[in-house]
Structures are given as structure tokens and as C-alpha cells.
């Protein structure tokens, strides 16, 4: 490391030590100093800048919760970037899980397409769903809203909407098959 980066690292370490003592000015100075570096690091990890922004926020929250684990005799950067890397890895895992849910949700529900079904059966099955699941199904499959738009309208996350919709499909299928 160069003398300048050594000095910067030492300054950050000193700020963090003061943060552990509850010094708010030092905390603001530290977060302002590391913010651009962290954001640049996270932007290299993902293509979507919105995802990088989300990861940045998660990293700051994780840093805040783990601030007691920083050892002031060591440089701050390995500690900081270990947290950021972990947040990025978590983000990728969640993204993969979300994609798999999307695959589940995008699988066309075979039951309504069945010609032998009476529309009244579907209405009855919908009526018997819990309200949250009925709303999810109606928004995505009857109104044709996107997952994001539906989630915004319901005031929940897209992931939660997908889960509700998937449960609704499963329940409708079971209800209709039970009626036959």
C-alpha cells in the first residue's frame, strides 16, 4: 500500500474506533468517505445500478450491525469489503431464488385452459381462496399486471406476490380437481 492509502486506511480505522464509542460525527465522516468506494465496488459486481444501490444499503446496515466486531488494531478495509462481498453473494443467491419463483409463476396454469371446466367452477374456486391469494391471482392472471406493478398495488415485495400467486394456482388446481 502507498503512504497515502496507508494514511487513509489509518484515518478510517480511527473513525471506526470512535464510532464504537458512539461518536456520530466520526460515523458520518466514515460513511461519507467509504460510501463512493463501496458503491463502486458493488457496481462492479452487478450490471443493474438499482441492484447496486440496494446492495449498498444492505451493506451499510450490515456494517452498522457488525460495528462492534471491528478490531481497531487492524485495517478497516478487509473487514468492510468482507461484509460487502457477503452482501453481494446474498444478493446473487436471492436473485437466483427469485428467478426460480418466476419460472414457477410463469408456468401456465393448465386448469383454466381446460375446456371441460365451467367458468362457474373457477369463480367458485377463486371465492374459496384466502383474500390475499385471490388478489394475487386476479392481478397477475386476470388483469394481466406485471409482478412489479401488482406488488406495488398490493404494497408487498414482488417476491411475496409471486409466492401468493403460486399458492393460489396450487390451491385452485386442487380445488378444481377435487370438484371433478
Amino acid at each position: 500500500m502507498s503512504a497515502v492509502s496507508d494514511e487513509r486506511s489509518a484515518r478510517r480505522g480511527a473513525w471506526m474506533q470512535r464510532v464504537q464509542n458512539g461518536d456520530r460525527d466520526a460515523y458520518r465522516a466514515l460513511l461519507d468517505d467509504i460510501g463512493p468506494v463501496l458503491l463502486a465496488f458493488l457496481r462492479r459486481k452487478v450490471a443493474d445500478p438499482h441492484d447496486a444501490d440496494d446492495m449498498f444499503q444492505d451493506t451499510l446496515i450490515a456494517l452498522h450491525r457488525a460495528r462492534h466486531t471491528y478490531d481497531s488494531s487492524r485495517p478497516l478495509e478487509p473487514w468492510l469489503f468482507a461484509i460487502a462481498r457477503n452482501v453481494a453473494a446474498d444478493h446473487h443467491r436471492r436473485r437466483l431464488a427469485r428467478l426460480s419463483w418466476e419460472v414457477l409463476v410463469e408456468v401456465p396454469c393448465d386448469v383454466p385452459a381446460d375446456a371441460s371446466l365451467d367458468e362457474r367452477d373457477l369463480d367458485e374456486a377463486l371465492r374459496r381462496l384466502p383474500p390475499a391469494q385471490r388478489e394475487a391471482f386476479a392481478m397477475l392472471k386476470l388483469e394481466g399486471l406485471s409482478v412489479e406493478a401488482g406488488a406495488a398495488r398490493a404494497g408487498i415485495t414482488p417476491g411475496a406476490l409471486r409466492v401468493r400467486a403460486h399458492r393460489a394456482y396450487t390451491r385452485i388446481k386442487a380445488l378444481l380437481q377435487g370438484d371433478r
Binding site: 464510532v19 464504537q20 464509542n21 458512539g22 461518536d23 456520530r24 460515523y27 458520518r28 460513511l31 461519507d32 460510501g35 463512493p36 458503491l39 444501490d53 449498498f56 444499503q57 451499510l60 446496515i61 450490515a62 452498522h64 450491525r65 457488525a66 460495528r67 462492534h68 466486531t69 471491528y70 478490531d71 481497531s72 487492524r74 478487509p78 473487514w79 468492510l80 469489503f81 468482507a82 461484509i83 457477503n86
Partner: protein, 219 residues
């Protein structure tokens, strides 16, 4: 840093910046943990050791087994404490060396006879007692390690929990080798080594459910 959203979060974090007690270094925490393990060892010695211990300690392979087990347990505990500090997580090679020490001890068990002519009921009766004692010996060091990990910020909570269980149960296994009179491979595998695997499975669940909580909740 022009984003209002980031600025708002920073202000919230700054507002919440209460003083915190810095975590003791992994070395200090390991020393305390070893103190607890020593107390348990002394209590075990007080309760009684195997009758043929003097003769067994004359066997270099038995001593090598004990040394590798104890060294492996201490190494696993050291790595567990490091796993709770971001940036100091153990690497695969370090975990491999610690696990390799335990594996070496396991290879040494192969010299033991598979099984003597013990009836199955006695095998279960004697074995279940050994299993209970192994769990009892491991319980306090295991719990202490998990609580210590929870105090930190384990970025890989399952790995941290597995290391904790490995350390506590391997330590208990080593102590049980000084207590149990039976040197039969089947007995050792089922009733002494079995709890290590069981403890690690339970610990992994604890890692998922409890050790990962440091990142959840409101500010």
C-alpha cells in the same frame, strides 16, 4: 453519494450510533473457551478415568490419536471464533488442516477390533451411556461457542456453527477416549463418533435459524 435514499439511510445510521462494546479478539475468546474445556476435563478426571489408562498411554498410537483429536478440536474452535469476525473468516485450507487432524485420528481407529462378542442389548445399553456422556461433555463448550459466535457477526453462519459443533464434540470425543474402557471400532463409530455428526447437523440448523439473525431486525 448524491442519492437521497443513501443520504437518508446514513442519517438514520448516524442517529442510531450508540456506543458498542468491541468484541474481544478471537485469541482471547479461544483462551476463555479452553479454560471452560479444562474445567470440564478436570471434572471428568475427578469422576473417574478408564481402568487401563496407564497401559493405554504407553501405546504411541493411542497418544497420537489423543494429540491429533485435541489439536484438531482446538484448531476448529479457533477457526469458529474467527468465523464470527468479518474479514477474518477461515479459508478452506485452514479448515482442511483442522478437519485433516480429526481424519487422521479416525484413520488410527482402524487398528481397533471391529467388535467383540458383546450381546446386542449390552452393546446398546453401554453405548447409549457413552453417547449421553459425550453429549453431556460437549454441551457446555458447544453452547458457549454458539453464544460467542452470536455475539459476533458470522458472515457464513452455517460454517461457523459446524466449526463450533466440530470443536466441542471432537473435544468431548477425546475426553471420552480417556473415560470409556471399550476399544471396539463399532462402539467408537456408533456411540462416540455418531454424536459428532448429530451435533454438527443440529448445529447447522442453529446456524441457519439463530446465528444469521445478527443481520435481521429493525435499526
Amino acid at each position: 453519494m448524491s442519492s437521497d435514499r443513501h443520504r437518508e439511510l446514513i442519517e438514520r445510521l448516524v442517529e442510531d450510533a450508540r456506543p458498542v462494546a468491541p468484541l474481544w479478539s478471537p485469541a482471547v475468546r479461544l483462551a476463555l473457551w479452553l479454560g471452560l474445556a479444562t474445567v470440564i476435563f478436570m471434572l471428568t478426571v475427578h469422576a473417574g478415568l478408564r481402568r487401563d489408562l496407564g497401559a493405554r498411554l504407553g501405546d504411541p498410537l493411542f497418544c497420537l490419536e489423543l494429540v491429533t483429536l485435541l489439536t484438531g478440536a482446538v484448531a476448529l474452535a479457533a477457526l469458529a471464533f474467527r468465523a464470527a469476525v468479518p474479514g477474518r473468516e477461515p479459508g478452506r485450507r485452514e479448515v482442511g488442516v483442522a478437519a485433516g487432524l480429526v481424519a487422521l485420528a479416525a484413520v488410527l481407529w482402524l487398528r481397533l477390533p471391529m467388535r467383540t462378542e458383546m450381546p446386542i442389548s449390552e452393546f446398546v445399553h453401554v453405548g447409549s451411556g457413552c453417547m449421553a456422556r459425550t453429549v453431556l461433555l460437549a454441551a457446555a463448550p458447544w453452547a458457549a461457542l454458539l453464544v460467542a459466535l452470536r455475539r459476533g457477526a458470522p458472515l457464513a453462519p452455517v460454517t461457523a456453527a459446524l466449526l463450533a459443533a466440530g470443536a466441542a464434540f471432537v473435544m468431548a470425543f477425546a475426553v471420552m477416549r480417556l473415560v470409556c474402557n471399550l476399544d471396539e471400532l463399532l462402539h467408537i463409530l456408533v456411540w462416540h463418533a455418531g454424536p459428532i455428526l448429530g451435533g454438527m447437523a443440529v448445529s447447522a440448523l442453529i446456524g441457519v435459524a439463530w446465528l444469521s439473525r445478527w443481520r435481521r431486525g429493525d435499526l
